[in-house]
């Protein structure tokens, strides 16, 4: 199944798929650097699509589909853009929990595709890559990328 098909089959997300990085607001697009933009398989604004359904939840921002040249199936980058401050960690972890719960409940098709879950900093970052905070996030499955998510053409793992 492709990323586009999986989005189309997900409740509340049926019409959320956009070509390229079209589902991202302009302010967020420059945080994503794909090695080959032709390999992008679209994007979906999860936050907006689920606003009516889960108005008070800490919803995740968006998903980006990518076809790595050395993999058969498409890959999903689940991206949250958020300021990189220590006091935001709790908020982002709540969003992560929401994402995992939602994927289990409604996102089975999307859940079948391999993924990374990424926190991209939307402003200054106040913790370092070697910090305990970033390690704690990694232990929960959340990768902190700094200001830019670089998507390479090939990925081995």
């Amino acid at each position: 199944m492709t990323f586009k098909e999986a989005v189309g089959l997900t409740p509340n997300l049926e019409t959320a798929w956009k070509d390229g990085l079209g589902a991202l607001e302009a302010k967020d697009r420059h945080h994503i650097k794909a090695e080959d933009t032709r390999q992008l398989r679209g994007s979906a604004d999860v936050d907006t699509a689920l606003r009516l359904r889960d108005p008070n939840a800490n919803r995740w921002d968006f998903a980006i589909g990518y076809q790595h040249t050395n993999r058969n199936a498409e890959f999903i980058y689940w991206v949250e853009t958020h300021t990189g401050r220590e006091n935001q960690i709790k908020d982002v972890l709540k969003k992560l929990e929401w994402l995992k719960t939602w994927l289990r409940r409604d996102g089975q098709h999307l859940d079948k595709l391999d993924r990374d879950i990424i926190w991209v900093s939307s402003g200054h970052t106040f913790f370092t890559k070697g910090s305990a905070q970033v390690k704690m996030l990694a232990q929960r499955g959340l990768l902190y990328s700094g200001a830019v998510l670089r998507i390479p053409n090939e990925r081995t793992w």
């Binding site: 890559k129 990694a138 959340l142």
Partner: protein, 387 residues
């Protein structure tokens, strides 16, 4: 700010360094950091370097290749490529062949150089004289070793404790060093059949440990401690008046992170005393400290916030040190192996677009990859569990 520009010397294609009160050089092995620092010494102290070499009978016949072999070390003449290599110091071109041709002699030096190979300065627990080395050994090592010899013989000639000493270093530093480096052992001069040597031993007691049984970190640290002693004399004037610059290569060698943090704090003490300090390092901990210093300053944090990072006591002398350090300018440069050029990464912004700055010149790269692998493993395991 003083600037040094080096083009096409050794591995360096274009290094442009603007020195702050504290300047830190990072980059992989053999990218030219040490050459840059030794050239800085030469720019500041050409007369003293040449005077010392002549005093010990080294003759380079006015030829630059021979001069580079005695100054940088045997075989190093190849770093200079005639017609292509160039140096600018403080905005002015320096004619290095001409500098080598003119034998100058000056007694005083302005730059105190603590080389990475400082562990070689002690043999059997006593500093080696300049002439104990081979003529092909780098000047920086020989000169440092000689300085330690003079210091130990003139100021600590009599048997007794070198560390701790009441008039040497602040009490807070002595406490931290006792705890994190010396494990409550004392450093003292001992005599075996008329031969003096440095030993570590319990307070006032027997059972001195000779140099060869010290831990690797202690062997590395003692020559560094003696350098700090030299720079911080036990007089009313807290610095060596003639010294403006201090270069310290790879301060972290052989040391546990807790000991590294004391050494970084000692560096801040040097900066607070008014020395202009240049470091090279492979330790992410040093950049952690610089990064924190910058943000504490920008966010008007109190001095105790800085002391907390180092686990240092919040006493008045230490507060004064921290307050002074937080006012100083800090520059960080990355020596890029691929391009041979330097990059100013002083902002140390982990969210910077440039990999050199975001990855702190490669020092946080490994942590980044470890985080990446763990995050992926966890997210994959989550999915497996759901199925």
């Amino acid at each position: 700010m003083m600037t040094l520009r080096i083009r096409n010397v050794g591995q360096i294609t274009d290094a442009s360094l603007m020195f702050g009160d504290l300047t830190v050089l990072v980059g992989p092995q053999a990218t030219g950091k040490s050459i840059a620092l030794q050239l800085l010494k030469l720019m500041v102290d050409a007369g003293q370097v040449q005077g010392e070499l002549s005093r010990y009978g080294l003759d380079w016949s006015g030829q630059l290749p021979d001069f580079l072999d005695v100054y940088l070390g045997e075989g190093m003449h190849g770093v200079w490529r005639q017609g292509r290599s160039s140096i600018e110091w403080a905005g002015r071109a320096v004619d290095l062949p001409q500098l080598a041709a003119r034998k100058r002699r000056a007694k005083n030096e302005s730059l105190f150089f603590i080389p990475a190979q400082r562990v070689l300065a002690l043999r059997d627990g006593w500093p080696r004289p300049f002439t104990d080395y081979s003529p092909g050994d780098p000047f920086a090592v020989r000169e440092y070793s000689e300085k330690l010899r003079v210091l130990v013989e003139q100021e600590f000639g009599a048997a007794g404790d070198l560390f701790p000493q009441e008039r040497r270093l602040k009490r807070e530093f002595r406490d931290l060093l006792e705890k994190h480096v010396f494990s409550n052992f004392h450093l003292r001069v001992d005599k075996v059949r008329s031969q003096k040597r440095l030993v570590l031993g319990p307070q006032g007691g027997n059972g001195n440990l000779p140099y060869m049984v010290w831990s690797a970190g202690q062997r590395e640290f003692v020559p560094l401690l003696l350098g700090f002693y030299w720079l911080m004399p036990p007089t009313k004037v807290s610095t060596r008046a003639e010294i403006e610059w201090v270069v310290l290569e790879e301060l972290e060698m052989g040391l546990h992170p807790r000991a590294i943090s004391v050494v970084v704090l000692l560096i801040l003490e040097l900066v607070a005393r008014g020395y202009r300090v240049c470091l090279s390092t492979h330790s992410p901990q040093v950049l952690d400290a610089i990064w924190a210093l910058k943000h504490l300053r920008e966010n008007h944090a109190p001095p105790e916030a800085l002391l907390k990072i180092f686990g240092a006591p919040n006493t008045q002398p230490m507060q004064r040190l921290a307050a002074s350090a937080m006012e100083k300018t800090v520059k960080v440069y990355y020596f890029n192996r691929e391009t041979g050029a330097t990059a100013d990464i002083s902002n140390l912004d982990p969210s910077a677009e440039g990999q050199a700055e975001a990855g702190w010149g490669g020092l946080s790269e490994f942590s980044g990859r470890a985080n990446e692998a763990v995050a992926r493993a966890v997210t994959n395991a989550d999915r497996e569990e759901q199925r």
